[in-house]
């Protein structure tokens, strides 16, 4: 009985505290520009959500320490209000509403994953809150006529498009046989759409088309089918879990395919976790540290890589790099708009044309970034078993030649 009374007292005290403390933020407080962001700190996207948050934090710290943002002759610093969207679109939509109407945030950064961005975009659009997002690549985001949504990344359907075209080219221009397995979520399904388009254009045939449930961590059935059907290209996309599971089971089941194309290799730390087994995997990426883009905050990809590693203790996957770039875009837009008026900032964002360490950024009317191509890298290991991601396409940045076809397991 006594414990119960303590609990009741404690709980009611907290309830009182919580219900009375509705803090309201303003868009610009003192010398701070406050941005709102919902990122996935818990749930199935939590690893990539953390990459996103680290990317944002890194850029905030860098911009603030290098003089901040100059608007109307005054210097402002960035600050971000974070919420945890729990990898759940319902929560993300709710949080967008909450950031805008309760916390009075006037500028937003995007969450991780296409599904969550799809849930948030209608809300930000309705309130006319400019949102620069770095992790929602679904093509359908950019066909809706959203005026306040800007994505620094290339749309998802382009992720593995290059891989298919390369495979067709290496096949002497003839169509190839494709086997694909994609997770049942907005992003992966959009990558799938890109493959479908590419297959249609190149006259390729899709012989296996599996959709993996979100909870699945066993792809043995799909891979067994692949072994029987012998496709020319195997495409797998399912965030980090998909990439890790695929490589493990491909190696264990000794599945021989001439080309293996995937997404999320660097976020999954593929070469570190799987070592030599991940060799020859071809990965789509928005960014790679060896690209030669430059800017004045992070200098270039290599420096960003080194600084990020120093700050967070691991090498930045492209999810972090693109998130950092989102803040650079915001800073640039604020300075060009020279105002905190949402409409003016929006117009400035729409007129963005800049180069960052992450790539050139220029938005199409739909909001997607059109001036940055995707890169493909291949995991290549040396004889000592040390593996590295080497860019193989586009040729402009290629630091290694694509190894094709992948040697059979019996010959490795």
């Amino acid at each position: 009985m006594k414990i119960k009374n303590y609990i009741v007292t404690f709980v009611s005290a907290i309830a009182l505290l919580l219900s009375t403390s509705a803090i309201s933020f303003a868009k610009v407080v003192g010398d701070k520009i406050i941005l709102g962001a919902a990122v996935s700190l818990t749930g199935k996207y939590s690893s990539n959500g953390v990459h996103t948050q680290n990317g944002y934090n890194m850029a905030v710290e860098r911009i603030n320490s290098m003089g901040g943002v100059k608007v109307g002759g005054k210097t402002y610093k960035f600050d971000i209000i974070y919420y945890d969207d729990e990898s759940n679109p319902k929560r993300a939509a709710q949080l967008a509403e909450r950031l805008i109407s309760q916390d009075k945030v006037e500028f937003m950064l995007g969450p991780y994953s296409s599904g969550l961005t799809k849930a948030m975009a209608p809300v930000t659009e309705k309130y006319g809150v400019p949102m620069v997002e770095a992790n929602g690549a679904s093509r359908s985001l950019f066909t809706k006529g959203y005026k306040y949504l800007f994505a620094v990344l290339a749309p998802a359907n382009l992720y593995l498009d290059v891989a298919i075209r390369t495979a067709v080219e290496l096949n002497g221009g003839k169509g190839v046989k494709i086997a694909q397995a994609f997770e049942q979520d907005a992003f992966s399904q959009d990558v799938r759409l890109g493959i479908l388009d590419a297959a249609k254009e190149t006259g390729s045939e899709i012989i296996i088309d599996d959709k993996l449930p979100k909870e699945l961590n066993d792809m043995a059935a799909t891979l067994a089918k692949v072994k029987v059907a012998k496709p020319d290209v195997l495409v797998v996309s399912g965030h980090t879990k998909g990439a890790l599971t695929a490589i493990r089971q491909i190696a264990e089941m000794k599945v021989d395919v001439p080309m293996l194309a995937m997404t999320h290799c660097d976020a999954a730390k593929l070469s570190k976790q799987h070592g030599k087994n991940s060799q020859y995997a071809l990965c789509a990426s928005q960014w790679h540290k060896t690209l030669t883009y430059k800017d004045k905050w992070f200098k270039d990809g290599m420096t960003y890589d080194a600084d990020f590693t120093k700050m967070f203790g691991y090498a930045p996957p492209y999810q972090a790099a693109e998130s950092s770039a989102a803040l650079l875009v915001f800073k640039d837009a604020f300075e060009r708009a020279n105002s905190f008026d949402q409409k003016k900032v929006r117009d400035a964002l729409a007129a963005t044309d800049m180069q960052t360490f992450y790539g050139n950024i220029k938005f199409a009317p739909g909001g997607q970034n059109v001036s940055k191509p995707m890169v493909l890298f291949q995991v290549i290991c040396d004889s000592s078993g040390k593996c590295e991601n080497k860019v193989v396409a586009p040729l402009k940045w290629a630091s290694a030649k694509l190894i094709h076809p992948i040697p059979k397991w019996s010959e490795r």
Partner: protein
């Protein structure tokens, strides 16, 4: 006594009607609160009054959500094209189409789950105890996984519901959905309250207390169980339809058939407030929502730790809920006359 109750109801009603204008920033939160209360009240019909702990009411909620959105789209545009390639093509509802579609959608969202509940009721409600709980859990999860594989409702890419038409300014959307959910809540509450004052509730309680005896007394328990479940399904479906419009994006396992969150929360809220009471679920849902939102803000990332501890504490120390606790403390207020000596004797016996 009647007067007193009337005053309480009236003041709640006035508060509810004025809330979106007094706290304009909290409209969405309040709408979600209304939906949570509806879910928790309807769960209580089975879990509290009938003793059938269902984890499967989320089935009706999700069904309502998908149906409402599909009807709203399908009435005016081809549904398959709307959802094709993740909803790439854009169709715009005129305001009249939007509201008309939403209204019909809600009606369908209420009726179809009710029919579904009636159809599967005979099979599922024949299970008892935890077998019923687990069977309904399976039903909810299966529905989520299977709907995630159906192309016409967006499959893995989700289903973007029609955007609110551009009328009435910024606040119109929030107000519309708030009043939708508030009115549904009032209707649900009144319906459930009037049901609870009839013999029907006594039958449900008899089933809870001893189903075999109830049957031996000539009550057709199965009929009542199915009707009870159908009532729940009706309001769950409505709540789902409104929530779908409010969120604006439907995902099979995370938004619609969200058994891991909504499905369990509706149970928790009812238990927190006190199951088997009329007001318990209302109080439980309100407190739960405040708690959750608060933890969210102040313990970023730790909210699940806090929630986990809260759940364990609730179930271990307050299995009777707040209403049960109040009843134990102030039995007079609940119209119970207790002989103090008798009570003491009982306590000592324990």
């Amino acid at each position: 006594m009647i007067n007193k109750n009337l005053i309480i109801y009236l003041s709640i009603l006035i508060f509810g009607l004025a809330a979106p204008f007094v706290f304009p920033a909290f409209k969405v939160q309040l709408s979600i609160l209304c939906v949570l209360i509806i879910l928790s009240i309807t769960w209580n019909i089975q879990g509290g009054e009938m003793g059938y702990n269902s984890f499967g009411n989320i089935l009706f909620y999700g069904l309502g959500m998908y149906l409402c959105a599909s009807v709203q789209v399908g009435m005016f545009f081809p549904l398959a094209e709307w959802t094709e390639s993740g909803g790439e093509k854009t169709f715009v509802h005129t305001p009249a189409q939007f509201f008309q579609g939403f209204g019909v959608g809600l009606a369908v969202a209420a009726i179809v789950p009710t029919i579904v509940a009636g159809l599967i009721g005979y099979s599922i409600l024949g299970l008892r105890g935890h077998y019923f709980a687990i069977c309904t859990l399976g039903l909810g999860v299966a529905a989520g996984e299977i709907s995630g594989g159906i192309e016409i409702i967006g499959a893995g890419q989700g289903f973007t519901t029609p955007p609110f038409p551009n009328i009435g300014g910024l606040e119109a959307r929030g107000e519309f959905f708030y009043f939708c959910s508030f009115i549904t809540l009032v209707l649900t509450f009144l319906a459930v309250k009037s049901i609870y004052s009839t013999r029907f509730k006594l039958v449900l309680n008899a089933i809870r207390d001893n189903e075999d005896k109830a049957e031996a007394m000539g009550i057709q328990t199965m009929k009542y169980k199915i009707i009870g479940w159908m009532i729940s399904a009706f309001f769950c479906g409505l709540a789902g339809g409104i929530m779908g419009g409010l969120v604006g994006y439907i995902d099979s396992t995370d938004v619609a058939f969200d058994g891991r969150e909504m499905g369990v929360f509706m149970v928790l809220m009812a238990i927190l407030g006190g199951k088997g009471t009329l007001w318990g679920p209302v109080i439980g849902a309100t407190l739960f929502h405040i708690f959750k939102e608060g933890f969210w803000t102040f313990f970023l990332g730790w909210q699940y730790v806090a929630l986990g501890v809260l759940i364990v504490v609730i179930v271990i120390y307050f299995p009777e809920g707040i209403m049960g606790w109040l009843r134990e403390k102030y039995p007079e207020r609940f119209g119970e006359v207790i002989d103090e000596a008798d009570r003491k004797a009982q306590v000592e016996l324990k």
